[in-house]
């Protein structure tokens, strides 16, 4: 009854659904689909000066994607867009080439077991990519 991927921390993240919802007056918004699996993230973001003030997402997706969206909802507020770009890159590198995470992004380590399943990489990355899309053209 164990799974290498669905560890307690991931399940709790998904369940908590940090940041779920929709901002009323966002500075940026994006809808990203994963056409092959039907996952969808609707993301809104607001900025306060140089940093992300708030993130909200409506995620209709698998558990991995929901956990990733929740982690994003937990960690993005207070960070700058470029920090979040770095986080996305770190996540991608960990999945694709088992790169080691910097101490700052240890929270992403819960997704390390997903590296063995390339077909699921997109599930984890989708919310982070949605944030990038929503920030497109915004001050960095």
């Amino acid at each position: 009854m164990t799974s290498s991927v669905y560890q307690q921390a991931i399940k709790e993240l998904a369940q908590a659904a940090h940041g779920s919802g929709r901002l009323d007056h966002p500075d940026g918004a994006a809808r990203l689909d994963n056409p092959l699996c039907g996952d969808r993230v609707d993301l809104t973001v607001s900025l306060a000066g140089e940093v992300i003030a708030a993130v909200a997402h409506e995620t209709r997706a698998c558990l991995l994607c929901r956990a990733a969206a929740s982690l994003l909802g937990l960690t993005a507020p207070g960070r700058s867009p470029s920090e979040m770009r770095a986080a996305t890159a770190a996540l991608e590198a960990m999945l694709n080439s088992a790169a080691v995470l910097s101490p700052e992004w240890q929270a992403l380590a819960v997704f390390a077991p997903v590296a063995a399943y390339p077909s699921r990489h997109g599930c984890v990355l989708l919310p982070f990519q949605a944030l990038q899309a929503a920030l497109q053209g915004k001050p960095q």
Binding site: M1, C37, G38, C62, L63, L64, Y117
Partner: protein, 402 residues
């Protein structure tokens, strides 16, 4: 040896160390050893087909023609030349959409169903964009079967073609082809059957079916990837323009004049998938030797075991008809509150190979108001242990994921 053991002994997959419980046969089947050997043997010493009078070229041409003859027998085609080799079912369906499409006028109608795979849906959407045809869609019954009762209403005098699946890749429902053909005949429309899922479960008889076109892929009926078939009634093929053009399919070529070879060459531009077609020929040849009554009985028994097992899970909802008649062993189901990919992931970790999502059938899921499903698809080499592993794994998945 039991029948299943005999069958497994013919598949390289089962000779590998620790084969998984392979229940993703609707996506692709495992390859039969004869098909693999025929393909590899052809490749090892080869020449292009089309005429050249040296031994290897004569042998390639002969083997390729023999593959065509075998497929013709598998389908009970009236003539070998009714068999067109393509790169797969999708290419065969696009061939019809482009070639027949070229003969249609704005306002002409094509009828499809809401149960179609994207490969028999999107080409018609595109044709509608190109040519202004009207696209009509047969609705579904709540259990996913195509509502053939609506044929009377939807097949109008302007209907030129009915393009419909022989069997759904999601629900396993087998279409009432006789009703479709009868409706088409009344208005002189052509009938194209998408047989991608059907051929894995035995030879078909295109003459008995009464259709005008039949499309399928080799890799779903124990042959190699990279090849498929469009069967077409000779009189129909003869009056159609080509789709792709190039070497091997022309008569005269100049800036001023252009003529095409007779079918099937007209529809096989360029070097065909020679070795793959020869592999497919070996696969269907083998399929024609099997005791199908016995296999169908075994498949039905397994299907019943799977459906009964799934019925014990209150969280599981079946997508597709529950009765065993007119249905192939392709079983899609939702698990309440759990995404299909998470189900597949946990089962995959337990060596049960399933597939989850919308299975290239978004219109079907929209019609049935479902966001996606997990699918188990059985083939002739599956046994009770495969089904039981799925059921046990599903129990685990519910625990892991809740």
């Amino acid at each position: 040896m039991s029948l299943i053991e005999q069958l497994r002994a013919q598949f390289p997959f089962y000779a590998a160390a620790n084969p998984c419980h392979y229940l993703d046969n609707a996506a692709t089947s495992q390859i039969h050893q004869q098909a693999l050997a025929a393909m590899a043997g052809q490749e090892a010493s080869r020449a292009n087909v089309h005429r050249s009078p040296y031994r290897l070229a004569e042998a390639s041409t002969h083997a390729y023609g023999e593959a065509r003859a075998r497929v013709a027998r598998f389908l009970n085609a009236a003539a070998n030349d009714e068999v067109v080799f393509t790169s797969g079912a999708t290419a065969a369906l696009n061939l019809v959409a482009y070639s027949v499409g070229e003969t249609l006028q704005a306002g002409d109608e094509v009828l499809i169903s809401a149960a179609e795979h994207h490969s028999n849906f999107v080409p018609w959407l595109r044709l509608r964009e190109r040519s202004g045809i009207r696209l009509r869609v047969l609705p579904l019954l709540p259990d996913g079967r195509i509502a053939t009762a609506s044929l009377a209403e939807l097949v109008t005098e302007r209907c030129r073609l009915i393009a419909i699946t022989h069997c759904s890749n999601v629900t396993g429902a087998v279409t009432d082809v006789a009703a479709v053909v009868a409706a088409a005949r009344k208005v002189g429309a052509l009938v194209l059957l998408d047989g991608a899922q059907q051929v894995q479960h035995g030879p078909v008889d295109v003459q008995m079916l009464g259709a005008d076109f039949y499309a399928f892929s080799s890799h779903k009926c124990f042959g190699p990837t990279g090849v498929g078939v469009l069967w077409g009634r000779q009189a129909v093929l003869e009056r159609l323009p080509p789709f792709m053009t190039g070497g091997g399919m022309v008569g005269e070529v100049s800036l001023e004049s252009l003529s095409f070879a007779a079918p099937p060459a007209r529809f096989e531009a360029g070097t065909p998938p020679v070795a793959q077609a020869i592999g497919l020929g070996a696969a269907v040849d083998w399929l024609m030797t099997l005791p199908w009554a016995e296999i169908h009985q075994a498949e039905s028994a397994l299907l019943a075991r799977l459906l009964a097992g799934l019925a014990t899970f209150p969280a599981v909802r079946l997508i597709g008809p529950a009765d065993l008649a007119r249905r192939l062993p392709i079983v899609s189901f939702e698990v309440r509150g759990i995404h299909p990919h998470d189900v597949c992931q946990v089962l995959g970790e337990r060596q049960v190979a399933l597939r989850g999502g919308n299975h290239c059938a978004q219109p079907l899921f929209a019609a049935l108001n479902s966001a996606g499903a997990t699918r188990a698809s059985l083939a002739l080499y599956n046994d009770a242990a495969d089904v039981d592993a799925l059921l046990a794994g599903l129990e685990d998945a519910l625990k892991v994921l809740s």
